[in-house]
């Protein structure tokens, strides 16, 4: 084999690129997406939620969620003046088709609270899995390996937010993936895409240019059940103390 100097100059960089791929291991599906550069969460702005149910419908469409099960749902709270600690909560069909009218002249406050997986950074659900079928991905999303899941439902019991269910036909655990197939391609989640008021916003906590950082500094933001130390990453703005 006779390689001229010209050929060698062309071949060397090609070989270097090829070797880099060998070193990098299996290439990821989204070539420009690096898991280590992201840490995903969600901002939920309660004063903006109008309870239209767009997010619930969008999630069911995007993720083929079976009827009667929800990866996200909307609750309507009624905090009456006398029962501040025990609000009345309704969520007919997850709020998918909206809510019944508020009774005429009703006292107290009414407001909507969208719920979803909090993608906890110390998630109770992943800790109880006996087979390693559910895990926190390197970019902070709580996912389920449905080929590995046995359907024992430990995780369904462990989630303090009630965000998991056993899929009625697959018989394995199912939950919000934070639209992992979308966010890894540079898009937002289906619920955020469909929200007409911006009450839901995907947040990348590792991206210094993400508006979440300014928002967290300037608003009174809380998470659900902070006493459980789950490291929840669904940040609620304007969360009433009565919300559980």
């Amino acid at each position: 084999m006779n390689i001229s100097r010209r050929h060698l100059l062309v071949l060397l960089p090609a070989a270097a690129v090829a070797w880099k791929h060998v070193l990098a291991g299996t290439p990821q599906d989204s070539p420009n997406y690096q898991m280590s550069e992201h840490w995903w969460g969600m901002l939920i702005d309660i004063p903006k939620c109008i309870g239209c149910g767009n997010c619930v419908r969008a999630c069911q469409t995007e993720n083929d969620v079976p009827d009667g099960f929800f990866r996200t749902w909307v609750e309507r709270y009624h905090r009456s003046d006398i029962h501040l600690e025990n609000p009345e909560v309704i969520s007919p069909d997850g709020g998918k088709e909206g809510f019944p009218p508020v009774p005429e002249g009703a006292e107290g406050d009414y407001f909507f609270v969208p719920k979803m997986c909090n993608h906890c950074s110390d998630s109770p659900c992943t800790q109880v899995c006996p087979v390693g079928a559910t895990f926190i991905s390197p970019d902070g999303v709580v996912l389920i390996d449905q080929k590995y899941c046995l359907g024992c439902a430990y995780c369904v019991q462990a989630c303090p937010y009630g965000c998991r269910y056993i899929h009625p036909t697959k018989k394995v655990a199912d939950k919000c993936t934070l639209c992992y197939h979308r966010i890894t391609k540079g898009l937002t989640t289906a619920c955020c895409e469909a929200c007409p008021t911006g009450a839901r916003q995907l947040a990348d906590l590792k991206n210094p240019n993400d508006p979440i950082h300014a928002f967290l500094k300037t608003h009174s933001v809380q998470v659900l059940k902070p006493q459980m130390a789950t490291g929840a990453k669904a940040f609620y703005n304007g969360l009433d103390g009565s919300v559980r």
């Binding site: 149910g53 995007e62 390693g132 080929k147 197939h181 895409e193 007409p196």
Partner: protein, 165 residues
């Protein structure tokens, strides 16, 4: 050597143990998935499988790439921040094949009312109407352009407030 003379059964047992261990290693290498443990106590390949789920919502940037006229109309109105698929539904199929998959125009009587029907539970600043009372049965688009719902010169944020009641 005489000390080991009566220890043959121990060597046989140790041999069995070694064979069992080798068998265990061989079986394990076949049974445990290749990527298990790459990032943690789970199968790393599952991440890629989840990321491969097909999309139903195309995303507003995809819509705006072709429908530039509507994108322009929207930027000036109160619906500037309402994404296309919030009203039109999931349309990735249309984006992938614009000629054979054509979206159905939403019924404004249902669509507009979903967000704008008055309710004490909705935020106070949000424009809300009693649909029956507000238009006496006339369809919303008789007066409002859904892509820029303000009427006449009254557009944008002023329309959002003026539209209430």
């Amino acid at each position: 050597m005489s000390a080991l003379k009566d220890a043959g059964h121990l060597f046989r047992f140790a041999g069995l143990f070694v064979i069992a261990f080798v068998v265990f290693l061989v079986v394990r290498s076949y049974v445990v998935p290749k990527t298990f443990g790459q990032y943690g106590h789970y199968r790393a390949a599952a991440i890629g499988e989840i990321a491969d789920h097909p999309m139903k919502f195309a995303g507003h940037e995809t819509c705006e790439a072709c429908h530039t006229d509507i994108a322009d109309t929207k930027t000036k109105g109160a619906h500037a921040h309402v994404n296309c698929e919030a009203c039109h539904g999931a349309l990735a199929a249309h984006a992938n094949d614009p000629t054979s998959v054509t979206p159905v125009k939403p019924d404004t009587a249902v669509l507009c009312a979903r967000c704008h029907t008055a309710s004490a539970a909705k935020p106070k600043g949000f424009p809300q109407v009693d649909p029956a009372d507000h238009s006496s049965g006339a369809p919303c688009q008789t007066c409002h352009n859904p892509h820029s719902p303000g009427i006449g010169a009254d557009t944008g944020a002023s329309a959002a407030k003026g539209g209430a009641q």
